[in-house]
Structure formats: C-alpha cells, structure tokens
C-alpha cells in the first residue's frame, strides 16, 4: 500500500505538475524532537520511467511524519510550540554557520548538530544575518531531532536601524530577494526538522517582501480543510 504507480503523458518541451493520489498509513511511526521520542524517518523514493527509454530520473528523501504548530501566547508574548499535538518546552541554540570560510562538510554538520542534541537542545535558530542552512544541515537535524527556526536575510542592524538609518527598505532588489526565498523554500521544505520560517532577525521585512513571504508560506486551502476536519474528528472523539 506504500507503493503507487501512475501514468501520465507529457507534451514535447512541456513542464507540468503531477500530484500523486495520497498514500495511506495506519499509525506510522511519528518523528519526534530530541527528548520526546524517536526520530522515525521513512525513505521516500520517486522515479519516472519513460516508454521506450526506461528510467528517466529518480529522487530520494528521508521523510518524517510530524505535525508542528505554533502560536504567540497572549499571556506571555512568547511563541508556544506543539509537536504531534504535544506541547514542547523549547531549549534552543543560536546558529550562524559552521565555518566562516564555508568549508561545510557532512562530517562537520553531523558533529556540530549531534553536539547540540547532546546538550539536550531541541531547537536551532538560524539567524537572519547568517546562512540559510544547507540540506545536509537539515538532514542531521532530522536525524538528531533538532527543530529548526529558519530566518530570511534581513537583520535590523543592517536593514532599518542605526544612525543614519540603514537600508530602511531592505535589499535593493526585492524581486531577487523573493526569487531566492522561493528557491530556498523549495530546497528545504521536505525536512521534518523545519519548524518555522521567520522574515528576519528582530525585524519585519519591508511590507511587500513580508506580504509575499506570507503568501508563499501560507497553508494550501486543501490542508486548512483537513485541519478543520481533523479538529471536528478530535472534538467528536
């Protein structure tokens, strides 16, 4: 039941989107953050075969079933997180990058991230003045159960504060910023550890950027309905 093959014709030179019929799982092993349970990860493999040619392309990813929710608590002003319906007390570390000369190896990532897990952390926050971290970073966060708070490339100190005021409108080329943001989201979106996107460090991005980022990252209407459905079922239970 966890293997599905579907057929599709694609016109010459065309680019199209295909949505598989969803795969059903009964009580899959859930992915939990460090300290709350196992980091269960499933291997997802997608391949395309073309008639008369054979295998044309393939793709693999480690995928964790988890549901992450967060909201700003009106009483404390702090952000509260739930993972798989369970509240989690966040113990986090701030992260800029692993090496200032960007010699970013898998071994280095594994060592650094395991160290955070060994310190009993359950979240790493990637600061907006540093890097958007690489898939290998996220892979080890998936494996060691570190939730990731990922900021985009805006900092108050370089975009909006100071005397004289620094770059109040953020980067010069807003379209370029959004091209990079869209591509980054596509690069990282399948990782179980990815918990929260944030517009920038201690700063709201310029209105047009912030609006576009919110639009890119909003839940697809289909899943809003799923959430409602889920809630109704929970209430019934």
């Amino acid at each position: 039941e966890h293997l599905r093959t579907e057929h599709r014709s694609i016109s010459p030179g065309a680019r199209s989107q295909h949505t598989f019929t969803e795969l059903f799982f009964y009580k899959p092993n859930l992915w939990w953050p460090n300290g709350m349970g196992k980091q269960s990860l499933y291997h997802v493999a997608i391949s395309v075969e073309v008639k008369g040619f054979g295998e044309s392309d393939s793709w693999r990813h480690l995928f964790g079933f988890r549901k992450i929710e967060s909201h700003i608590d009106s009483a404390t002003g702090g952000r509260l997180f739930k993972v798989n319906g369970q509240p989690i007390f966040i113990r986090g570390g701030n992260w800029i990058l692993s090496d200032g000369l960007l010699r970013l190896s898998e071994k280095r990532y594994e060592t650094d991230i395991k160290f955070h897990a060994d310190m009993n952390f359950n979240m790493i926050r990637c600061w907006g003045g540093g890097l958007t971290e690489r898939p290998e970073f996220y892979r080890y966060c998936d494996m060691y159960g570190l939730l990731v708070w990922q900021e985009f490339w805006i900092t108050g100190d370089v975009d909006g504060r100071g005397d004289p005021v620094s770059n109040p409108d953020g980067p010069l080329d807003h379209d370029l910023f959004l091209v990079c943001a869209r591509d980054t989201v596509k690069l990282l979106r399948n990782h179980a550890s990815l918990a929260l996107w944030v517009g920038g460090n201690e700063q709201v991005p310029p209105v047009d950027l912030n609006t576009a980022l919110k639009d890119y990252l909003k839940l697809h209407p289909y899943f809003e309905k799923v959430d409602e459905h889920d809630k109704i079922l929970e209430d019934l239970n």
């Binding site: 059903f24 799982f25 395309v48 370089v158 399948n190 889920d230």
Partner: protein, 262 residues
C-alpha cells in the same frame, strides 16, 4: 559519469585571481586550460570561499587564529577584483542519445560566468539560489569537458568603520547575501565577504523527463492513527516527442540493520 543520477564535483578544482589570468573563459576551456597548480593557479576549495582557497594555499594566514585577520586585506581596500576568482575543473562525460546533462550549482556568492568547452552562460546574482544549466548540447564529442567559473563578490561589499559595529557600514544589506560578513559584535569582518562557490557543484544525468522539486506533505486524522502522505512534483519533458511516463512513489521504513518494510 554514467547512468541516471548525480555526481558531485568536490575535488580537483583549481583557482586563480582574475587579474592574474589574461586568458578569456573561452580560451581557458578550449585551447589554453591550466595544466596544474602552477602560479597563478592553485588548488581550490570547492565548496568553500575564495578566502578558504587562499588559506589552504598559505597565501594568507588563517583568519581565525589570533589577530591574523588583521593581516588580510579587506575587500573595501583591495577592490572587488582582488577577490574575483576563476575556478577550473575538468570532467569526463559522453552521453548516449536521449540523455541530458544538467550542471548544478547549489549556491554561489554572488554572481558568476560559467564557461563550458568555450560556451558562456551567465549565472544571475543572489547568494541563496540554485542554478541548473542544461549543458547537453555543449558537451565535447570526445567526452573530455572543461569547465571554468568566474565568481564575482557581492555588489556592495561595503567598508568596515574603524569602530567596527553591527554589519559595518551596512552596504552588504543592499544585496541578497549573508550579512555577518561585514563584522558584528561577535565576529571580525570576513575579508572576501564569503565570495565563492560555497555549496555543492554537481552534474546530473536524466532521460527525456526530469523530476523537479518534489513536495511531500502529511495530514493526520483520528489522533494520528490515520495518516496520509501527499506528494506533488514538477516534470519537464525535454524531448521532441510526447513522453508516456510511469511515475512511481515508494515509501519504506528501515527497521533494523538490513531489514526493510515495504
């Protein structure tokens, strides 16, 4: 390179300061390739930055020891051309008919010109974006391919005020790049502003149809008993014929050791 899949290029790179190379990208990748790590060429760190390459070759001291960073010229004083570098490598690839080769850069800081076997492609600005080039038609018929990449630093590397400060003079914030490189309260300025091919370089072989950025999402019901995995992917048919495709998705869980549940 053989068969469908990805091959990383993370060794065998050479680098040279652009001002010390009088050849064009077309010449470097056709008639006058560098022959080895002889000046001005040196072994390069890819992925990594120009500064990482200079440190590896002991052209500058390691900036993270003592006050060594003070001995490295800042891009504000040297000019951008000082940290504008050529990167060069070769690879073997001869494709059967109907296969395609993509040259992939997962990130470059900040912009670049790519030359493959004398053919030029421009990579647009932005530190946090992927670049994919279909190079099928410009591979060399004999299978020996030469690749040169001219990497330019950020457009606004800025100056570091004598008193330092958060993000230097803030010029770097005008670009879409990492901002800590102008120095912060916890960090000395990075002299090359992290210019370089700083993330994975690879080539990928595909058939006529390519998968692009699959997206996986799960939804939960009945207190996490009933769960669905949703998957959407983009597909591109690069051939001149209609492609009849069989798309498969398979999910497996490794239990322990060599046991797999399908």
């Amino acid at each position: 390179i053989a068969g469908i899949g990805k091959t990383r290029f993370d060794s065998g790179w050479l680098a040279a300061r652009s001002t010390e190379v009088e050849l064009t990208g077309a010449q470097l990748t056709t008639t006058h390739p560098p022959t080895g790590a002889d000046p001005p060429w040196m072994e390069a760190v890819v992925p990594g930055t120009v500064l990482a390459t200079l440190v590896k070759n002991k052209a500058v001291p390691d900036p993270f020891y003592g006050l060594n960073n003070e001995a490295i010229i800042d891009i504000a004083d040297s000019g951008r051309e000082h940290y504008t570098f050529w990167f060069f490598t070769t690879f073997q690839c001869k494709l059967p008919e109907a296969q395609h080769l993509d040259l992939n850069f997962r990130a470059i800081n900040y912009s670049a010109e790519v030359y493959l076997n004398g053919n030029k492609k421009v990579l647009p600005k932005g530190m946090f974006r992927r670049h994919q080039l279909d190079v099928t038609d410009i591979l060399h018929p004999n299978g020996q391919n030469m690749l040169a990449v001219l990497v330019h630093p950020p457009d606004h590397p800025g100056k570091i005020p004598p008193e330092g400060g958060q993000g230097g003079d803030h010029e770097i914030g005008k670009d879409v790049a990492t901002q800590y490189v102008q120095g912060w309260d916890w960090m000395a300025p990075i002299r090359d502003r992290n210019t370089g091919i700083w993330d994975e370089v690879s080539v990928s072989v595909t058939g006529p149809v390519k998968l692009i950025d699959p997206h996986l999402v799960s939804s939960f019901f009945d207190n996490y008993k009933r769960v669905y995995l949703h998957c959407t992917t983009e597909l591109e048919n690069r051939s001149t014929r209609v492609a009849e495709c069989s798309l498969s998705i398979e999910v497996t869980a490794e239990l322990e050791g060599n046991f797999t549940l399908i």
